[in-house]
Symmetry: C2
Subunit: 230 residues, 2 copies
Protein backbone atom coordinates (compact mmCIF):
# COMPACT_ATOMS: atom_id res chain seq x y z
CA UNK A 1 0.00 0.00 0.00
CA UNK A 2 1.36 3.44 -0.87
CA UNK A 3 2.10 5.49 2.20
CA UNK A 4 2.12 9.25 2.78
CA UNK A 5 2.90 11.79 5.47
CA UNK A 6 0.15 14.42 5.57
CA UNK A 7 0.70 17.75 7.30
CA UNK A 8 -2.45 18.48 9.28
CA UNK A 9 -2.95 21.80 11.05
CA UNK A 10 -6.62 21.37 11.81
CA UNK A 11 -7.51 24.12 9.37
CA UNK A 12 -9.76 23.90 6.33
CA UNK A 13 -6.99 23.46 3.76
CA UNK A 14 -4.97 20.69 5.42
CA UNK A 15 -8.16 18.83 6.36
CA UNK A 16 -9.16 18.82 2.70
CA UNK A 17 -5.71 17.52 1.77
CA UNK A 18 -6.03 14.66 4.25
CA UNK A 19 -9.45 13.78 2.85
CA UNK A 20 -7.98 13.80 -0.68
CA UNK A 21 -4.94 11.66 0.22
CA UNK A 22 -7.16 9.19 2.01
CA UNK A 23 -9.58 9.03 -0.93
CA UNK A 24 -6.67 8.43 -3.30
CA UNK A 25 -5.79 5.29 -1.35
CA UNK A 26 -2.77 6.46 0.62
CA UNK A 27 -1.98 4.96 3.99
CA UNK A 28 -1.77 8.28 5.86
CA UNK A 29 0.56 9.31 8.68
CA UNK A 30 -0.77 12.64 9.90
CA UNK A 31 1.70 15.12 11.38
CA UNK A 32 0.70 18.19 13.38
CA UNK A 33 2.75 20.78 15.19
CA UNK A 34 2.42 22.65 18.41
CA UNK A 35 4.66 25.67 17.90
CA UNK A 36 3.59 28.13 20.52
CA UNK A 37 0.24 28.96 19.02
CA UNK A 38 -1.68 31.30 21.24
CA UNK A 39 -4.65 28.97 20.85
CA UNK A 40 -4.67 25.20 20.73
CA UNK A 41 -8.15 24.82 19.26
CA UNK A 42 -6.74 23.84 15.90
CA UNK A 43 -4.79 20.96 17.44
CA UNK A 44 -7.97 19.63 19.01
CA UNK A 45 -9.53 19.88 15.55
CA UNK A 46 -6.54 18.07 14.00
CA UNK A 47 -6.95 15.14 16.41
CA UNK A 48 -10.67 14.91 15.68
CA UNK A 49 -10.15 15.13 11.91
CA UNK A 50 -7.41 12.47 11.97
CA UNK A 51 -9.66 10.13 13.93
CA UNK A 52 -12.69 10.72 11.67
CA UNK A 53 -10.78 10.27 8.42
CA UNK A 54 -9.02 7.21 9.81
CA UNK A 55 -5.24 7.61 9.65
CA UNK A 56 -2.54 5.03 10.35
CA UNK A 57 -0.85 7.33 12.83
CA UNK A 58 -1.08 10.90 14.08
CA UNK A 59 1.83 12.64 15.77
CA UNK A 60 1.76 16.08 17.35
CA UNK A 61 5.29 17.45 17.61
CA UNK A 62 6.09 20.32 19.91
CA UNK A 63 8.32 22.73 17.98
CA UNK A 64 9.74 25.62 20.01
CA UNK A 65 9.24 28.34 17.40
CA UNK A 66 8.28 30.75 20.16
CA UNK A 67 12.01 30.89 20.96
CA UNK A 68 12.39 32.68 17.61
CA UNK A 69 9.53 35.14 17.84
CA UNK A 70 8.80 37.21 14.78
CA UNK A 71 5.17 36.39 13.99
CA UNK A 72 1.66 37.35 14.97
CA UNK A 73 0.79 33.68 15.35
CA UNK A 74 3.40 33.10 18.05
CA UNK A 75 4.00 36.58 19.48
CA UNK A 76 1.69 39.08 21.04
CA UNK A 77 1.46 41.24 17.92
CA UNK A 78 -2.14 42.20 17.16
CA UNK A 79 -3.67 40.16 14.35
CA UNK A 80 -4.80 42.48 11.55
CA UNK A 81 -8.58 42.63 11.16
CA UNK A 82 -9.06 45.20 8.46
CA UNK A 83 -8.68 42.97 5.44
CA UNK A 84 -5.64 41.68 3.61
CA UNK A 85 -2.68 44.00 3.17
CA UNK A 86 -0.12 44.07 0.38
CA UNK A 87 3.23 42.29 0.67
CA UNK A 88 4.11 39.56 3.12
CA UNK A 89 1.45 39.30 5.85
CA UNK A 90 2.34 39.97 9.48
CA UNK A 91 1.04 36.45 10.20
CA UNK A 92 4.01 35.03 8.27
CA UNK A 93 6.01 32.62 10.48
CA UNK A 94 9.73 32.55 9.58
CA UNK A 95 10.57 29.46 7.53
CA UNK A 96 7.45 27.71 8.81
CA UNK A 97 6.67 25.54 5.81
CA UNK A 98 10.35 24.67 5.43
CA UNK A 99 10.56 23.55 9.06
CA UNK A 100 7.32 21.56 8.80
CA UNK A 101 8.25 19.92 5.49
CA UNK A 102 11.67 19.03 6.89
CA UNK A 103 10.12 17.26 9.86
CA UNK A 104 7.65 15.58 7.49
CA UNK A 105 10.65 14.45 5.46
CA UNK A 106 12.20 12.82 8.54
CA UNK A 107 8.92 11.08 9.33
CA UNK A 108 8.57 9.97 5.71
CA UNK A 109 11.97 8.27 5.91
CA UNK A 110 11.09 6.49 9.14
CA UNK A 111 7.65 5.36 7.95
CA UNK A 112 9.05 4.48 4.50
CA UNK A 113 6.63 6.87 2.87
CA UNK A 114 7.52 8.21 -0.57
CA UNK A 115 4.89 10.92 -0.47
CA UNK A 116 4.26 14.08 1.52
CA UNK A 117 1.00 16.04 1.25
CA UNK A 118 0.80 19.71 2.23
CA UNK A 119 -2.09 22.12 1.87
CA UNK A 120 -0.17 25.14 0.62
CA UNK A 121 -2.09 27.50 -1.59
CA UNK A 122 -0.64 30.15 -3.86
CA UNK A 123 -3.94 31.94 -4.52
CA UNK A 124 -5.38 33.10 -1.21
CA UNK A 125 -1.96 33.25 0.48
CA UNK A 126 0.07 34.72 -2.33
CA UNK A 127 2.01 36.89 0.12
CA UNK A 128 3.74 33.86 1.70
CA UNK A 129 6.96 33.01 -0.16
CA UNK A 130 6.85 29.40 1.02
CA UNK A 131 3.47 28.72 -0.58
CA UNK A 132 4.65 29.22 -4.17
CA UNK A 133 5.02 26.36 -6.68
CA UNK A 134 8.68 27.23 -7.34
CA UNK A 135 9.40 26.90 -3.63
CA UNK A 136 7.80 23.45 -3.50
CA UNK A 137 9.79 22.31 -6.54
CA UNK A 138 13.01 23.51 -4.88
CA UNK A 139 12.13 21.72 -1.66
CA UNK A 140 11.42 18.47 -3.48
CA UNK A 141 14.73 18.76 -5.33
CA UNK A 142 16.59 19.33 -2.06
CA UNK A 143 14.72 16.44 -0.38
CA UNK A 144 15.76 14.05 -3.12
CA UNK A 145 19.39 14.83 -2.35
CA UNK A 146 18.97 14.91 1.43
CA UNK A 147 17.69 11.47 2.22
CA UNK A 148 18.72 7.86 2.32
CA UNK A 149 15.57 7.03 0.35
CA UNK A 150 16.48 9.57 -2.32
CA UNK A 151 20.02 8.21 -2.63
CA UNK A 152 18.61 4.71 -2.96
CA UNK A 153 16.34 5.74 -5.83
CA UNK A 154 13.13 6.39 -3.92
CA UNK A 155 12.87 10.18 -3.88
CA UNK A 156 10.07 11.88 -2.00
CA UNK A 157 7.22 13.45 -3.95
CA UNK A 158 5.65 16.56 -2.43
CA UNK A 159 1.93 16.71 -3.26
CA UNK A 160 0.20 20.09 -3.19
CA UNK A 161 -3.32 19.33 -4.42
CA UNK A 162 -4.62 22.78 -3.44
CA UNK A 163 -1.81 24.97 -4.67
CA UNK A 164 -3.60 26.49 -7.67
CA UNK A 165 -7.16 26.30 -6.33
CA UNK A 166 -9.44 29.09 -5.17
CA UNK A 167 -10.94 28.67 -1.71
CA UNK A 168 -14.30 27.78 -3.23
CA UNK A 169 -12.67 25.02 -5.28
CA UNK A 170 -10.89 23.65 -2.20
CA UNK A 171 -14.14 23.49 -0.27
CA UNK A 172 -15.97 21.91 -3.20
CA UNK A 173 -13.24 19.25 -3.39
CA UNK A 174 -13.80 18.33 0.26
CA UNK A 175 -17.58 18.46 -0.04
CA UNK A 176 -17.38 16.03 -2.96
CA UNK A 177 -15.66 13.63 -0.53
CA UNK A 178 -18.36 14.23 2.10
CA UNK A 179 -15.87 15.92 4.41
CA UNK A 180 -17.47 17.71 7.38
CA UNK A 181 -15.95 21.19 7.59
CA UNK A 182 -17.47 21.85 11.00
CA UNK A 183 -14.52 19.79 12.31
CA UNK A 184 -11.99 22.40 11.16
CA UNK A 185 -10.70 25.63 12.69
CA UNK A 186 -9.36 28.54 10.66
CA UNK A 187 -9.58 31.60 12.92
CA UNK A 188 -6.35 33.45 13.75
CA UNK A 189 -7.83 34.88 16.94
CA UNK A 190 -10.69 32.78 18.35
CA UNK A 191 -12.92 34.09 21.13
CA UNK A 192 -12.38 32.74 24.63
CA UNK A 193 -15.14 30.17 24.20
CA UNK A 194 -13.48 28.89 21.02
CA UNK A 195 -15.84 30.55 18.55
CA UNK A 196 -14.31 32.00 15.36
CA UNK A 197 -13.94 35.79 15.52
CA UNK A 198 -15.39 36.43 12.07
CA UNK A 199 -13.09 39.41 11.66
CA UNK A 200 -9.61 38.12 10.82
CA UNK A 201 -8.54 37.51 7.22
CA UNK A 202 -8.87 33.78 7.65
CA UNK A 203 -12.47 33.94 8.91
CA UNK A 204 -13.44 36.40 6.18
CA UNK A 205 -11.95 34.35 3.36
CA UNK A 206 -13.56 31.18 4.62
CA UNK A 207 -17.02 32.60 5.16
CA UNK A 208 -17.01 34.37 1.81
CA UNK A 209 -16.05 31.14 0.06
CA UNK A 210 -18.89 29.15 1.63
CA UNK A 211 -21.28 31.99 0.79
CA UNK A 212 -20.11 31.92 -2.83
CA UNK A 213 -21.05 28.23 -2.89
CA UNK A 214 -24.51 29.16 -1.60
CA UNK A 215 -23.86 27.72 1.85
CA UNK A 216 -23.34 28.86 5.40
CA UNK A 217 -19.97 27.71 6.78
CA UNK A 218 -20.80 24.56 8.81
CA UNK A 219 -18.35 25.75 11.49
CA UNK A 220 -20.12 29.08 11.78
CA UNK A 221 -23.48 27.33 11.89
CA UNK A 222 -22.24 25.00 14.65
CA UNK A 223 -21.09 27.92 16.80
CA UNK A 224 -23.64 30.62 16.02
CA UNK A 225 -26.65 28.74 14.65
CA UNK A 226 -27.17 31.22 11.83
CA UNK A 227 -25.46 32.83 8.85
CA UNK A 228 -22.82 35.49 9.60
CA UNK A 229 -24.04 39.08 9.22
CA UNK A 230 -21.02 40.29 7.22
Amino acid sequence: MKSAVVLLSGGLDSATVLAVANAEGYDCHALSFSYGQRHSIELDCAREIAARVGVSSHRVLDIPLRAFGGSALTDDIDVPKDGAEGGIPITYVPARNTIMLSLALGLAEVTESEHIFIGVNAVDYSGYPDCRPEYIVAFQNMAGLATKAGVEGRPITIHTPLIELKKTEIIQMGLDLWFDYSLTSSCYDPLEDGKPCGKCDSCRIRNQAFAALGMVDPLWMKHYGQAPDF
Copy 2:
Protein backbone atom coordinates in the same frame (compact mmCIF):
# COMPACT_ATOMS: atom_id res chain seq x y z
CA MET B 1 28.08 44.13 11.45
CA LYS B 2 27.44 40.98 9.43
CA SER B 3 25.43 38.42 11.34
CA ALA B 4 25.31 34.62 11.13
CA VAL B 5 23.48 31.66 12.61
CA VAL B 6 26.00 28.94 13.50
CA LEU B 7 24.87 25.37 14.10
CA LEU B 8 26.76 24.13 17.16
CA SER B 9 26.54 20.52 18.31
CA GLY B 10 29.41 20.64 20.75
CA GLY B 11 31.48 18.34 18.56
CA LEU B 12 34.85 19.03 17.01
CA ASP B 13 33.59 20.06 13.57
CA SER B 14 30.90 22.55 14.58
CA ALA B 15 33.19 24.06 17.23
CA THR B 16 35.76 24.70 14.53
CA VAL B 17 33.09 26.32 12.38
CA LEU B 18 32.09 28.66 15.21
CA ALA B 19 35.73 29.62 15.74
CA VAL B 20 36.07 30.32 12.01
CA ALA B 21 32.86 32.40 11.77
CA ASN B 22 33.89 34.39 14.83
CA ALA B 23 37.39 34.98 13.43
CA GLU B 24 35.87 36.14 10.13
CA GLY B 25 34.05 38.89 12.01
CA TYR B 26 30.51 37.54 12.06
CA ASP B 27 28.20 38.41 14.89
CA CYS B 28 27.28 34.80 15.79
CA HIS B 29 23.96 33.38 16.95
CA ALA B 30 24.72 29.82 18.01
CA LEU B 31 21.96 27.23 17.66
CA SER B 32 22.06 23.79 19.29
CA PHE B 33 19.52 21.01 19.41
CA SER B 34 18.41 18.57 22.00
CA TYR B 35 16.82 15.81 19.94
CA GLY B 36 16.64 12.83 22.24
CA GLN B 37 20.36 12.14 22.38
CA ARG B 38 21.12 9.35 24.77
CA HIS B 39 23.81 11.56 26.22
CA SER B 40 23.72 15.30 26.83
CA ILE B 41 27.46 15.78 27.27
CA GLU B 42 27.75 17.43 23.89
CA LEU B 43 25.15 20.06 24.85
CA ASP B 44 27.17 20.93 27.93
CA CYS B 45 30.16 21.27 25.62
CA ALA B 46 28.16 23.46 23.24
CA ARG B 47 27.26 25.85 26.05
CA GLU B 48 30.87 26.05 27.20
CA ILE B 49 32.18 26.58 23.66
CA ALA B 50 29.61 29.30 22.92
CA ALA B 51 30.59 31.11 26.11
CA ARG B 52 34.33 30.82 25.47
CA VAL B 53 34.13 31.96 21.84
CA GLY B 54 31.78 34.76 22.78
CA VAL B 55 28.54 34.58 20.81
CA SER B 56 25.71 37.12 20.64
CA SER B 57 23.16 34.48 21.57
CA HIS B 58 22.96 30.73 22.08
CA ARG B 59 19.69 28.84 21.85
CA VAL B 60 19.17 25.16 22.61
CA LEU B 61 16.00 23.94 20.93
CA ASP B 62 14.35 20.72 21.99
CA ILE B 63 13.40 18.83 18.84
CA PRO B 64 11.34 15.71 19.38
CA LEU B 65 13.11 13.48 16.86
CA ARG B 66 12.79 10.57 19.25
CA ALA B 67 9.13 10.43 18.19
CA PHE B 68 10.44 9.34 14.78
CA GLY B 69 12.99 6.74 15.84
CA GLY B 70 15.15 5.25 13.13
CA SER B 71 18.70 6.02 14.28
CA ALA B 72 21.39 4.74 16.59
CA LEU B 73 21.78 8.22 18.02
CA THR B 74 18.19 8.40 19.23
CA ASP B 75 17.15 4.74 19.51
CA ASP B 76 18.58 1.88 21.47
CA ILE B 77 20.35 0.35 18.49
CA ASP B 78 23.93 -0.62 19.34
CA VAL B 79 26.49 1.86 18.02
CA PRO B 80 28.92 0.06 15.69
CA LYS B 81 32.44 -0.18 17.08
CA ASP B 82 34.25 -2.22 14.49
CA GLY B 83 35.23 0.56 12.13
CA ALA B 84 33.35 2.33 9.37
CA GLU B 85 31.06 0.28 7.15
CA GLY B 86 30.13 0.92 3.52
CA GLY B 87 26.92 2.71 2.55
CA ILE B 88 24.85 4.94 4.80
CA PRO B 89 25.89 4.56 8.46
CA ILE B 90 23.45 3.26 11.06
CA THR B 91 24.08 6.50 12.93
CA TYR B 92 22.29 8.40 10.15
CA VAL B 93 19.41 10.45 11.58
CA PRO B 94 16.54 10.85 9.10
CA ALA B 95 16.60 14.30 7.52
CA ARG B 96 18.66 15.64 10.40
CA ASN B 97 20.64 18.31 8.59
CA THR B 98 17.53 19.39 6.70
CA ILE B 99 15.62 19.81 9.95
CA MET B 100 18.49 21.67 11.61
CA LEU B 101 19.13 23.94 8.62
CA SER B 102 15.41 24.71 8.41
CA LEU B 103 15.33 25.82 12.03
CA ALA B 104 18.53 27.78 11.43
CA LEU B 105 16.77 29.43 8.50
CA GLY B 106 13.90 30.51 10.75
CA LEU B 107 16.34 31.92 13.28
CA ALA B 108 18.28 33.66 10.52
CA GLU B 109 15.12 35.45 9.44
CA VAL B 110 14.31 36.55 12.97
CA THR B 111 17.86 37.71 13.75
CA GLU B 112 18.17 39.29 10.29
CA SER B 113 21.19 37.14 9.54
CA GLU B 114 22.05 36.53 5.91
CA HIS B 115 24.48 33.73 6.71
CA ILE B 116 24.25 30.22 8.14
CA PHE B 117 27.34 28.20 9.07
CA ILE B 118 27.21 24.41 9.31
CA GLY B 119 30.06 21.95 9.90
CA VAL B 120 29.09 19.31 7.35
CA ASN B 121 31.93 17.33 5.90
CA ALA B 122 31.83 15.24 2.76
CA VAL B 123 35.13 13.45 3.40
CA ASP B 124 34.92 11.62 6.72
CA TYR B 125 31.13 11.33 6.54
CA SER B 126 30.71 10.51 2.90
CA GLY B 127 27.94 8.03 3.73
CA TYR B 128 25.56 10.78 4.85
CA PRO B 129 23.54 12.10 1.89
CA ASP B 130 22.89 15.41 3.64
CA CYS B 131 26.61 16.24 3.95
CA ARG B 132 27.26 16.48 0.20
CA PRO B 133 27.96 19.76 -1.61
CA GLU B 134 25.08 19.19 -4.05
CA TYR B 135 22.70 18.86 -1.11
CA ILE B 136 23.89 22.15 0.40
CA VAL B 137 23.49 23.91 -2.95
CA ALA B 138 19.93 22.58 -3.23
CA PHE B 139 19.11 23.70 0.30
CA GLN B 140 20.44 27.19 -0.34
CA ASN B 141 18.42 27.41 -3.54
CA MET B 142 15.27 26.33 -1.68
CA ALA B 143 16.01 28.75 1.18
CA GLY B 144 16.26 31.66 -1.24
CA LEU B 145 12.71 30.94 -2.41
CA ALA B 146 11.33 30.13 1.05
CA THR B 147 11.91 33.29 2.97
CA LYS B 148 10.79 36.86 3.24
CA ALA B 149 14.46 37.89 3.16
CA GLY B 150 15.01 35.95 -0.05
CA VAL B 151 11.98 37.53 -1.71
CA GLU B 152 13.22 40.96 -0.67
CA GLY B 153 16.61 40.36 -2.28
CA ARG B 154 18.59 39.21 0.76
CA PRO B 155 18.96 35.47 0.18
CA ILE B 156 20.65 33.31 2.79
CA THR B 157 24.16 32.00 2.13
CA ILE B 158 24.98 28.59 3.61
CA HIS B 159 28.65 28.43 4.59
CA THR B 160 30.32 25.02 4.84
CA PRO B 161 33.97 25.83 5.56
CA LEU B 162 34.81 22.19 6.37
CA ILE B 163 33.00 20.42 3.57
CA GLU B 164 36.06 19.40 1.54
CA LEU B 165 38.56 19.16 4.41
CA LYS B 166 40.17 16.10 5.96
CA LYS B 167 39.85 15.79 9.72
CA THR B 168 43.51 16.80 10.14
CA GLU B 169 42.88 19.96 8.11
CA ILE B 170 39.82 20.80 10.21
CA ILE B 171 41.79 20.46 13.42
CA GLN B 172 44.69 22.48 12.04
CA MET B 173 42.24 25.24 11.10
CA GLY B 174 41.00 25.42 14.69
CA LEU B 175 44.49 25.19 16.16
CA ASP B 176 45.56 28.12 14.00
CA LEU B 177 42.78 30.10 15.75
CA TRP B 178 43.99 28.90 19.17
CA PHE B 179 40.77 26.92 19.68
CA ASP B 180 40.90 24.54 22.68
CA TYR B 181 39.60 21.15 21.48
CA SER B 182 39.39 19.79 25.02
CA LEU B 183 36.09 21.73 25.16
CA THR B 184 34.51 19.50 22.50
CA SER B 185 32.82 16.11 22.62
CA SER B 186 32.70 13.69 19.70
CA CYS B 187 31.98 10.25 21.17
CA TYR B 188 28.83 8.44 20.03
CA ASP B 189 28.72 6.37 23.21
CA PRO B 190 30.49 8.03 26.18
CA LEU B 191 31.22 6.11 29.38
CA GLU B 192 29.04 6.80 32.40
CA ASP B 193 31.56 9.26 33.80
CA GLY B 194 31.52 11.21 30.52
CA LYS B 195 34.83 9.94 29.17
CA PRO B 196 35.06 9.19 25.42
CA CYS B 197 34.81 5.47 24.68
CA GLY B 198 37.76 5.40 22.27
CA LYS B 199 36.04 2.66 20.26
CA CYS B 200 33.30 4.27 18.17
CA ASP B 201 34.01 5.57 14.66
CA SER B 202 33.91 9.15 15.89
CA CYS B 203 36.51 8.58 18.63
CA ARG B 204 38.77 6.62 16.26
CA ILE B 205 38.68 9.23 13.49
CA ARG B 206 39.34 12.03 15.95
CA ASN B 207 42.23 10.37 17.76
CA GLN B 208 43.88 9.27 14.52
CA ALA B 209 43.67 12.83 13.18
CA PHE B 210 45.36 14.34 16.22
CA ALA B 211 48.00 11.59 16.09
CA ALA B 212 48.66 12.39 12.42
CA LEU B 213 49.34 15.98 13.50
CA GLY B 214 51.82 14.68 16.05
CA MET B 215 49.57 15.47 18.99
CA VAL B 216 47.52 13.71 21.60
CA ASP B 217 43.85 14.72 21.45
CA PRO B 218 43.50 17.39 24.19
CA LEU B 219 40.14 15.86 25.12
CA TRP B 220 41.72 12.44 25.58
CA MET B 221 44.56 13.98 27.58
CA LYS B 222 42.04 15.81 29.80
CA HIS B 223 40.17 12.61 30.58
CA TYR B 224 42.92 9.97 30.59
CA GLY B 225 46.14 11.93 31.16
CA GLN B 226 48.04 9.99 28.53
CA ALA B 227 47.99 9.06 24.84
CA PRO B 228 45.43 6.46 23.78
CA ASP B 229 46.82 2.93 23.33
CA PHE B 230 45.17 2.29 19.97
